[in-house]
Symmetry: C2
Subunit: 294 residues, 2 copies
Amino acid sequence: MALDSVQTPEGESAEALGGSAVYFSLAARHFAPVRMVGVVGTDFPDAHRELLIRCGVDIAGLQAVPGRTFRWVGRFGKDFNRAQTLDTQLNVFEKFDPRLSPEQASCSVLFLANIDPDLQRRVLEQMAAPKLVVCDTMNFWIGLKRKSLEELLTRIDVLIVNEEEAQQLSGDSNNVRAGLFLTRRGPRVVVVKKGEHGVLCVAGGVVHPLPAFPMETVKDPTGAGDSFAGAFVGALAEGSLDLRDIGALKRALAYGAVVSSVNVSDFSTRALETLTRPVIEERLRGYRELVNVS
Amino acid sequence: MALDSVQTPEGESAEALGGSAVYFSLAARHFAPVRMVGVVGTDFPDAHRELLIRCGVDIAGLQAVPGRTFRWVGRFGKDFNRAQTLDTQLNVFEKFDPRLSPEQASCSVLFLANIDPDLQRRVLEQMAAPKLVVCDTMNFWIGLKRKSLEELLTRIDVLIVNEEEAQQLSGDSNNVRAGLFLTRRGPRVVVVKKGEHGVLCVAGGVVHPLPAFPMETVKDPTGAGDSFAGAFVGALAEGSLDLRDIGALKRALAYGAVVSSVNVSDFSTRALETLTRPVIEERLRGYRELVNVS
């Protein structure tokens, strides 16, 4: 849960709603019920809570504690694939120790957003019997907590990382080999995100490339990866949890490509807020038409 | 026509057969008869001529003139998407002024490899009635001969450029907008090549993304773009020359992805020399299976 201030060549936002859990939930809600767990400070605007509730996200797991909400200040230049972090204020996030209610712990699908891998493990250990565990991480944790992260990899089903993270984690600069390497470290499926160039998805020893939805205008790439993950994991939850079903897996990835392309078309969560399932389906049809080779 | 000396993290080659015309022809020959036009010096090995003939390429248009053959010395680091030029010796290429025989001038499809746009225009003007004209270029000519190149764009059907060239030519850092812009400058189809990330193909105002064939091992990316162009243009020549047939266009691009992935699996033209149509077809089926979303 974050308040983001972002500058891009297309404009800027100030203390806008953001954070992995928010982007993920706003994307996933179209496919399956979402129970969000996170922490905010006393300064977190009620309007944001109301928005999430209005969008059907269960925010019972949203703790409010004394202090200020996590803040991120970032900038995107002409290269929309890479954010430049100008400031990070952990604030209440620094002492976050997520506790799941019995309801939350009973979910069949778990997405562990990018936090300390020790915290990710503690959340996983609170789950009753998850059928699908998907995990994100970042360069910071790979550098600082590699051991914890590698241990966690043996306990998850799907790892989602960007290409720099895949390379850092595997020590291999070839994305294809890096992805294959990581599937031998635990997760049955590894998704390597490449921004405007789409993703590579490694499953069953095979590397599937899926392009991004081509966008003439990108206003704000913030949350592209998390909204991708939200639609992807949501679509898996709605459909098949069997990761051997490659057709379903690729359709879920295509939903990810579609929803994240909508997300980057406006600042903060604006485009996600008004998105509807029929628009997603129409765009998925368009994606298929663009991509499929007869 | 070149003798290339290339270093990559996977090894090196010295004075090996190379050049746009060679890579293009060795890829295109699987789909349609190819009449190659180019220039070499007296030092050009007979073995290379014999190879081209054995592969079915018509080399009647291969002039041999006193002097040394064009040479390129380059290096690829970990980033296989970008070559570093260490040395370029134009040699006999400097005074090359291609003259077409009546047979060559009667071809229905013309590929103008990356040379001075004024020479490209002069070749085009020698053609009797080409049905499809495809053109490549590079940063050097965009900087030095922009006017000639822009004039040429109004007389071609398909432009093939990499993303840096698309951006330089359009002044737009967004590949999607750059490609769309270029289709408004003449060519009905623009292909923007992105190395390991595949291509964007703009046709009829629509941007189609096609991923590259995922490769665990890339030994030598030299000629990736030219072998892509060869298979792509060859497949168009074999099938439909109607660029409004988007299905055929995408299948031709997929052939390009497949053949260029074979090319980069070994140094120089080695992998292309032994490639057969059944292997191409098998790999195309694999590509479809990897890429298509149901």
